[in-house]
Amino acid sequence: MSGIGTRAVRLAMGFDRTLADRCAKDARDACAAWKAFWYGSQDPMPLAAFRLVFGLSAFIFYAVRMTDYSFYFGSEGIVPYELLHVIVPASFQSVVPWEWLASDDRVGFALHGLLLSGLLTLALGWTGRWVAAFAFMLHMVFMRRNPLIIYGPDMVGTAWLLCLALSDTRNTLRAPLPGLIEAKGWRGRPPSASESSPWNTLALRLAQIQLCVVYVYGGVEKFRGQTWWQGDAIWNTLANGQLVDVNLEFIAWVPGLVALISYGVVYWETFFVALVWPLRIRPYVLAFGVALHLGIGLTMNIPYFSLFMIVSYFTFVPAAPLRAFLGLVGKGGPRRG
């Protein structure tokens, strides 16, 4: 009996050791995978392309907002500073009173100008992380100064600016500084260590995950809607004269197409999070997204929203085709090891 018992104990210990070893190995692998995913070496080109196109688009978008500054943010406008805390519920107020900085009309206007300068210099690669963080802060000032007029591009722009505030890719896709004799143009200066910083990888991954979250929530919420389920939601959008200027009656003669697009949008958004990661199908998934957002942007008069969504796809584009596209292969920026 004792022999059998000893053997059983030894077997159990051996099994336990095997299990413990396996668990320890899995934990080490998981840690290594986490580290590689969030902080591993990445070519800065996709993030730099994202920075360049998003920065320029945001600069134009907020320059247009500035044309109606006094109505949106002025003391004679729709929400004077004194009224703000009366109308905004306490649960939506931030513990950081960003909006206070724009309580004075002239200071606010100057800060809006600074926001535009920050976005432009960030886009052109003349400034880095600190200016991006400053631009993010100024962006939040105006988001909080008048929350009644916020719409899609503002919300998406907030997420992208936050990601850019973590990164520094100013030596990739850098515009020549005016007056610099030795300016090397778009081919950039020699890469610095900051270009392959773990912060850049972190920013890239956060932008990717954020995009997935946006689509998952968009898709799941649409599944709850009756018109998306029926398949005529796209018609309900295209027939809305408040959004669409052109007459798209002809689409009523192909109801199958309306249902196909409606269902396609819902399924694509919901499963984007799973479909976008395999490299083999990624180009098709992103191409569908580009076509979808171009369609939305052109028909529904929300080009900036579409642009802000499409530019974030740069974070999913491998660096090599981007460098090939820009004619930069082997000439600027660090390559992947």
């Binding site: 949106y72 406008g77 009224l83 109308i87 939040m140 907030t158 979250v213 919420e221 809607g225």
Partner: protein, 186 residues
């Protein structure tokens, strides 16, 4: 030559990873405004989301695309010299047709209308005093009406009804009568 990578120190790595996990939780959970989360956890998450502008539900065109709705403000003005009848003027939020040079400015007024739909108190707090009364400083009475526009279904279009023939598809709901307390001021 690949440049040297900067690496984080162990303590910084733990702090960054902890913050990253928290950030990811906020990113993933805060958009679901119906989710039950214990108060002790929800408070710091919502505070963090409010600071960084992450309290967004990401419900674009969901659960259903919103129907076109306008607010109409019919303003009663004193009669002109020599006339007996008070004058009436109308303005809409947003305008029935885009009247802004930059489309974004019209879209922001649509966004304002959407916010007002969710928080009707804003009509008397913001829209009437800050938009209507300032445009019509002599206004005595402001009748606020909500206009809903029902557009034809796919089937109705195929039966020959025009998309732009919207006059007979408007429903008017009188919401309230507001007053401009002093000339041009709330």
């Amino acid at each position: 030559m690949t440049p040297a990578r900067r690496t984080l120190r162990p303590l910084a790595r733990i702090a960054v990873n902890g913050l990253l996990v928290f950030h990811l939780l906020v990113m993933a959970l805060v958009p679901n405004q119906q989710l039950y989360v214990p108060q002790e956890i929800a408070v710091p998450m919502i505070a963090y989301a409010n600071i960084l502008g992450m309290n967004v539900a990401w419900k674009f065109f969901a659960p259903d695309p919103a129907p076109p709705i306008y607010y109409e403000f019919e303003v009663t003005l004193p009669p002109r010299p020599g006339e007996k009848e008070p004058r009436r003027e109308r303005m809409h939020l947003p305008a029935l047709r885009n009247d802004e040079f930059w489309r974004q400015n019209y879209n922001r007024r649509v966004a304002l209308k959407n916010t007002v739909l969710q928080h009707p108190k804003l009509i008397s707090q913001v829209v009437v005093p800050r938009m209507v009364c300032t445009r019509f400083p002599e206004a005595r009475d402001v009748a606020v009406t909500r206009i809903g526009v029902r557009f034809p279904s796919l089937k109705e279009i195929r039966e020959g009804r025009g998309l732009n023939d919207m006059e007979d598809r408007r429903t008017y709901t009188l919401l309230s009568h507001e007053v401009c307390l002093t000339e041009g001021k709330p």
